[in-house]
């Protein structure tokens, strides 16, 4: 359960931006890869806790989950994995060790007022 420390980093980051620009942050947009090692629901509940007592209190965390995308060397294109337990190309069945997307944990935007 490391979601609370992740949530605190997000709050810290948003707080810095808010102070820098002298704005109020009402929501934080986050891209979260399915291979990031972070659980969406746990992060959402940790976020509320992490915001407590900060200028972010009452703000929302909006998570966009990023599916795992791998490179298929046979088809020569990126493909979305159908199962995290099976790293194969959903079209041709070739094994796909190269992960292109899915490890993201990135604050992409802030809603400010």
């Amino acid at each position: 359960m490391h979601e609370l420390s992740i949530a605190m980093s997000i709050v810290e980051m948003a707080q810095e931006e808010a102070q820098l620009r002298n704005v109020r942050v009402s929501a934080v947009h986050l891209k979260l890869g399915m291979l990031s090692g972070v659980v969406k629901d746990a992060l959402l509940s940790s976020y509320g806790m992490a915001c407590g007592g900060t200028v972010l209190e009452g703000s929302q965390l909006i998570i966009e989950e990023v599916p795992v995308e791998v490179f298929c060397a046979v088809c020569n294109v990126n493909r979305k994995l159908q199962s995290m337990q099976w790293f194969i190309c959903p079209e041709c069945g070739a094994t796909t060790p190269t992960v292109v997307h899915g490890k993201e944990m990135e604050v992409t935007a802030l809603e400010i007022q």
């Binding site: 359960m1 947009h29 990031s36 090692g37 099976w86 790293f87 094994t95 944990m105 604050v107 935007a109």
Partner: protein, 236 residues
């Protein structure tokens, strides 16, 4: 019309401000600094992750003991509360330092950095970092290591890789431990191998028994080879 305008002014609509910032940026920066420092000193850094009870400590104790005759080795060990692991590793006579994480379930790069600051080990050929026993949380944190080993014991069940694809994807090599017990627990080796390959195609797998020493020579040879490859790349 003018009413609408004043309403908008009273309740300004939120604007979207693009930022694009990696949440773990701070950790990644520290990890990068550590990696540069290790490379500058020709220290090859290996981290170990596994669930509790996989035999990380016994495995590491043997690794240190065997490498010590030819290389300068040391280990940092993350543990929640006790210093039992550090005490066991100290039997190898290699320098060992404990990082007590309290209730924190993983190591972060800054903890490694702090632990190294006041620890004079001299120049090292190998530094081992034993993470907290956990197959979830450590996967997100780069520690500046060159090689991450994920350990899986024969007593844990062959489907561990399927349950924890993320950690297998963050690691470079899988080590199957406690091979001496394989027969007694009816370990299905082909199933375990297939599951590892399913979540991480092409992953190298080494089988060892810290108790009997089986597979240890091959594993150490592999480490030494990885280190010389790394050194030849960084000297280019």
């Amino acid at each position: 019309m003018s009413d609408l305008k004043s309403d908008v002014r009273a309740n300004p609509q939120p604007r979207l401000l693009e930022v694009r910032k990696n949440v773990l940026k701070q950790n990644d920066l520290v990890a990068r600094a550590l990696r540069n420092e290790f490379r500058g000193r020709d220290t090859f850094v290996v981290s170990l992750v596994s669930s509790p009870g996989t035999g990380k400590t016994a495995f590491l104790e043997n690794t240190l003991r065997l490498l010590r005759s030819q290389f300068r080795v040391a280990a940092l060990v993350g543990d929640l509360a006790t210093d039992n692991d550090a005490a066991r590793l100290a039997r190898s006579l290699a320098p060992v330092k404990q990082i007590t994480t309290g209730t924190l379930c993983h190591l972060e790069a800054a903890m490694v950095q702090t632990a190294l600051q006041d620890w004079d080990t001299g120049d090292l050929d190998f530094l081992f970092i034993e993470n907290v026993g956990n197959l979830v949380c450590p996967s997100s944190y780069d520690l500046g290591e060159d090689l991450r080993l994920v350990l899986l014991s024969v007593t844990e069940g062959e489907d561990k890789p399927l349950k924890y694809p993320t950690i297998f994807n963050s690691a470079d090599v899988a080590i199957i431990t406690k091979m001496d017990l394989a027969e007694a627990v009816e370990f299905d080796e082909p199933a375990a191998m297939a599951n590892i390959q399913a979540v991480r195609p092409g992953m190298q797998v080494l089988k060892i028994s810290a108790k009997t020493g089986a597979g240890m020579a091959q594993y150490l040879e592999f480490l030494v080879q990885q280190r010389s490859e790394r050194l030849s790349v960084s000297r280019k």
